[in-house]
Structures are given as C-alpha cells and as structure tokens.
C-alpha cells in the first residue's frame, strides 16, 4: 500500500520542520511528510494531486487563506488541517467558513496531533 502524502505549509520554518519530522517519526513508513514555508510550493504539490492531507498554519503574516481557497478550487475533497499559533474564536470561524474541517492550536503536543492526522488520513482512504 502506497504511503499517504502530507503537505505542511507554515511560515515559521522551525515549526514547519518540527511538524514534518515529528509526524514522519511518529507515523513512520505509513506517510511521506513534506514541509514548506512557501504557499506557492504547497499549492503546486496539492494541485499535482499527490497530497492526501494539507496542514496549514493560518498566521496573520502568511498566505494561508489564499492557499486554502486555491486548493479548494482544484481539490475540493482534500482534507485540510489548520495548525495555528493564533487561535481565536474568530479564526476558528474563518477556517470553518473556508471549509477547513480540522483545527488544532499550538503549542499542541505531537502525541495529541498524531491521532488527528491519522483520523484525517483514514477518512480519505
């Protein structure tokens, strides 16, 4: 069985790296995790069709909202997980309005994040 592909977009490179390495380490061969701080790169990966889960950090400085809208146009059923350091009720509502069904607030622990990710992947399958 082919590995799931997870694409991470986070404009904080350290956070992006930790998420990538953490999920890769904890989920093992089941997944291939890629991370980028570039929204265009993330969009390309999703548009190419070889991504099963997009993890987005909707920070106020990044292009998360534009990325989510663009991805939704090409891949309406791709699960998207918002992983944010800027958790507010307003943000939660905006993410819902954009069709983002999964939501987690930093500093979430990896061992709490992993079940969320697994669940999202298995829903796709």
């Amino acid at each position: 069985m082919a590995a799931y592909r997870i694409q991470i977009y986070d404009d904080d490179p350290t956070a992006a790296l930790v998420t990538q390495r953490g999920l890769q380490a904890l989920l093992g061969d089941e997944v291939i995790v890629q991370a980028t701080t570039n929204a265009n790169e993330a969009w390309l990966a999703c548009a190419n069709g070889n991504v099963d889960l997009l993890i987005v950090d909707p920070s106020p400085y990044g292009a998360a909202a534009a990325l989510i809208r663009a991805v939704r146009t090409y891949r309406p059923y791709l699960p998207i997980l918002a992983l944010t350091a800027y958790d507010t009720p307003g943000l939660r509502a905006r993410m819902q309005a954009l069709g983002v069904e999964l939501y987690a607030a930093k500093p979430i622990e990896l061992r709490e994040l992993v079940p969320l990710v697994s669940q999202a992947l298995h829903q796709v399958a």
Partner: protein, 471 residues
C-alpha cells in the same frame, strides 16, 4: 309778707337746684363707675392678650397654640359659653375641620356654618339675635335640617384666621344661651386674638417648613455623597477594566507569538525523548524541561483566555448546580488539605443567563485560592442567595466563598485583581484577574473581605439579567 314769699320761693328753687345737682352727681358717679369698670375690663383684656401673645410665642405646636387661644377666649369675653377654632385641612380649598374647643365638648350643628362664614369674612363679625338667625337660615340651604331642632346661641363673635392672602380657618365664640349679648366693642379684641393666633400658627408652620427643608437638604446631601461614592467606585472599576483590557490585549499578542517557538521546542524534546532508551540518564532533565515547557504552555493558554473570555455559548445556568459541580471537582484536593466544606445554597434560585464554563472557572479559581489559604486545613463555606441591593434595583445573585485561612494582608487587597500580581511562589497572578474579568463581562462584580488570621470571603455578585455586552 312779700319778702317771706320770695324767700320761700328762693329756698324752693335752691332745693330744686340741689336736688338736680344731687341727681347729676349720682349720674356722674354712675358714669364714672361704668367708665372705671370699662377701664378695668380693658385693662384685664389687655393683660390677657399680652399673656396670650407671650404664651403663643413660646408654643411650638399648633394644637397647643389653638387650645390656649380657645381657653383664653372664654376668659377674655365674659358670658362666653364656648369657643372653637376651625382650621382648613392642608390647603385653603380643603374642608374646615374643628381643631380645638373650650370647654371641651362638641359644638352645636350650627357652628360649622358659622365657621365657614367667619373664614370667608374680611374681619371680625358680631351677630346677635334675629340677625344671627337670618344668617344661619341663609347659609343653611346646603346643610342638614337637624340644626332647626337645636337651641341657637343668641350672640356670636366670629373672626377669620388669615395672614396676608392666606386663609387658615376661623375662630367662633358664642355667648350663653338666651342670656348674653356681645357688644361691638368686643370686636377689636376678638380680631386681635385671631391675629395673634395666626401669627403664632404661621411662625410654627415656618419653623416646620424650615425643618423640613433642612431635612431635605441633609437627605439630598447624603444622596449626593452616595452618588459620588458610587461614581468613584464605577470610575475605579472602569479604570481597572481598561487596565485589564490593555494588559489582556498585550498578553494575547505575546501569547500568540510565543506559541510557535513553544510548539517547536516542546515537540523537539518529545522527539528526542522518543529516541532515548528507557534508562537513559538524560531523561531526568529532559522530563524537567518538558514539564517546564508544559507550564509555560499553560500560562500562555490562560493569558490567551484572558483576551477572549467570551468563549462558549450563553446558556441558562443554575448557579447552585455549577457550585456543586465545582466542589465535586475539587473534593479530593480539599480532603487532602483537611478542608471541610459547608454549603448554604438558597433554594429556588432563578436560573441565570451566563457562560457556564467561565463561571465554573471563576468558582474553581476562588475555591482553590481558599484552599491554598488554609495550608493546615480549615473550613470552606460556599453560599448562594438572591438579593436586591436597593428597592427597584435588578435582582442579583450573591455567591460567597469563605475560608478560615491566613487572610490577605491589607496592602495586597488593592492589587488582588491585577494581572500578574501574585503572592504564591508558583502562581501566575492570572487566576483572580481572569475571574474578575469574567464576572465583569457578566455585568457583575467580585469583592473581597479579609481579616488576616481569621479568613477571607470572596463575594461574586451577578445580575440576573446579563447585559447585552456579555454575548
């Protein structure tokens, strides 16, 4: 012979003259006696009026003044059967009411008619015999026929009680049945007596008005002081809220900026830990680092909550149920700390529209603080009641949480609800600040009353109707 006749005629004339002189002397003597009697009478009346005026000036209530006047009237006018004073009730258009009589018995039915007439008169009147009868008949059209059945006085003195344009009532004096007639010379005296009475009554009324004004003034001053105190308290609270809001916003932005590095650091350590063998000696310090990062995460979370206290839905909450749930949460903790719990929850409290989770957090904060204040055990009393601060004010729920702990030093009290103010070695200084913020968002107040060495009571006041801003 002629000379003798002349002499006799002369003597006769002299005798006539002497007789005329005698009768003249007698008349003069009678006149003198009469004048002397009048003079004595006048003197007596003057003395009586002076004593009345002296007595009136030192009288302090209307009833004793008019009682004195009617008694003096009976003495002042010999042959008087009764004297009555009628006063208008409250205003000149009000009804006349009998207020004083001497001797003390009810007047005949004709008297109210006479009193009304006297009250309207410009000055004192004297009515005798048929004149009196005529007047009573003329005035009686509107009154009861009963007056025809009773004996009428033959003579009355009437005087209006009036000062400037204000009519106060009437003085009615009546002579004994069938025997006595008053004289017009009595009129100035009855007028003087009435005038004295009015001046005395007016004096008392002015004094009463002045006293009432003074009471009003004192009352107004106390209301004003109270309003000022409330205003000051509201301003202090506003300032405190503004401070809290500013700090809250700052905290929230700091919290958000810290989340990314915290997320990276915490999970990096977690990944390192995954690769370490179970017995690696590094694990001790790794665990410490993780615990401390966990603590930072908790502080950050609370700071973030501070910024958005309105999380969750407004629901109809049962305060007693929330208190019981909160106490259940901490039962074990309290037992370990040898704290016994007493509850005095009012029955039938109405539900309150609130964020139940937030109120639970407030109760939890205060209860845990109370527990911390009793390191060697003690008693925790949780009570709830429905109060109305002032008549007409909206009903308020009061929740009191009392401990028998160490108390709070007076110098800490003003800062208790400030963020980051803490006296505990491991406190964040946010618990009470957040609690106060939550309670304020619900339109309520939180107050503290503490006595070092005796204990502390936190009282949370919540209005039954949440303000619109709480949503």
């Amino acid at each position: 012979m002629i000379e003798r006749d002349d002499a006799i005629a002369y003597i006769t004339k002299l005798e006539r003259d002497l007789q005329a002189a005698h009768s003249r002397i007698a008349a003069l003597e009678r006149e003198a006696a009469l004048q002397a009697r009048y003079a004595r009478d006048l003197d007596r009346r003057l003395a009586a009026l002076l004593s009345v005026s002296a007595a009136l000036l030192i009288s302090h209530d209307i009833d004793s003044i008019i009682q004195l006047v009617v008694q003096q009237a009976v003495d002042l006018f010999p042959g008087t059967a009764a004297a009555h004073i009628y006063l208008f009730e409250h205003e000149p258009d009000g009804r006349l009411r009998l207020r004083a009589s001497a001797p003390d018995h009810a007047p005949a039915p004709t008297f109210p008619i006479l009193a009304e007439m006297a009250a309207k008169a410009p000055r004192a009147l004297l009515l005798n015999g048929p004149e009196l009868e005529y007047v009573i008949h003329q005035q009686n059209s509107a009154h009861s026929p009963a007056i025809n059945d009773c004996l009428w006085p033959q003579s009355v003195l009437l005087a209006p009680l009036r000062i400037e344009q204000q009519r106060l009532g009437a003085l009615v004096i009546c002579g004994e049945q069938l025997s006595h007639l008053y004289h017009p010379r009595d009129l100035p005296f009855v007028q003087a007596l009435a005038d004295l009475t009015v001046i005395a009554i007016d004096e008392v009324q002015q004094r009463q008005r002045a006293a009432a004004l003074h009471r009003d003034l004192v009352h107004t001053q106390s209301l004003r002081a109270e309003a000022e105190a409330r205003l000051n308290a509201a301003q202090a609270q506003l300032l405190q809220s503004a401070k809290l809001a500013a700090v809250g916003e700052l905290s929230a932005s700091v919290a958000h900026e810290i989340n990314n590095p915290l997320y990276a650091a915490r999970n990096s350590l977690y990944l390192v830990e995954q690769d370490l063998p179970p017995d690696a000696p590094q694990r001790t310090f790794l665990t410490i680092a993780q615990q401390e990062l966990g603590r930072i995460a908790r502080i950050i979370t609370r700071m973030r909550d501070f910024y958005r206290p309105s999380r969750g839905e407004l629901t109809s909450a049962n305060i007693n149920a929330l208190l019981r749930e909160t106490l259940e949460l901490v039962t074990t903790h309290l037992r370990h700390n040898h704290v016994t719990v007493r509850t005095r929850l009012a029955n039938d409290l109405p539900p309150i529209v609130a964020h139940a989770d937030q109120l639970r957090q407030v109760f939890l904060n205060v209860i845990l603080n109370a527990c911390d204040a009793m390191p060697s055990g003690g008693e925790l009393t949780v009570s709830s009641e429905l109060i109305a601060a002032r008549p007409g004010a909206p009903a308020t729920l009061a929740i009191s949480i009392t401990d028998t702990g160490v108390g709070i030093a007076p110098e800490h009290i003003p800062h208790l609800f400030e963020p980051f103010y803490t006296t505990k070695p491991h406190g964040t200084g946010l618990g009470l600040a957040i609690s106060a913020h939550i309670v304020t968002q619900h339109g309520g107040r939180i107050t503290v009353d503490s006595q070092p060495g005796v204990g502390t009571t936190f009282t949370i006041l919540l209005p039954l109707e949440a303000p619109a801003t709480a949503s």
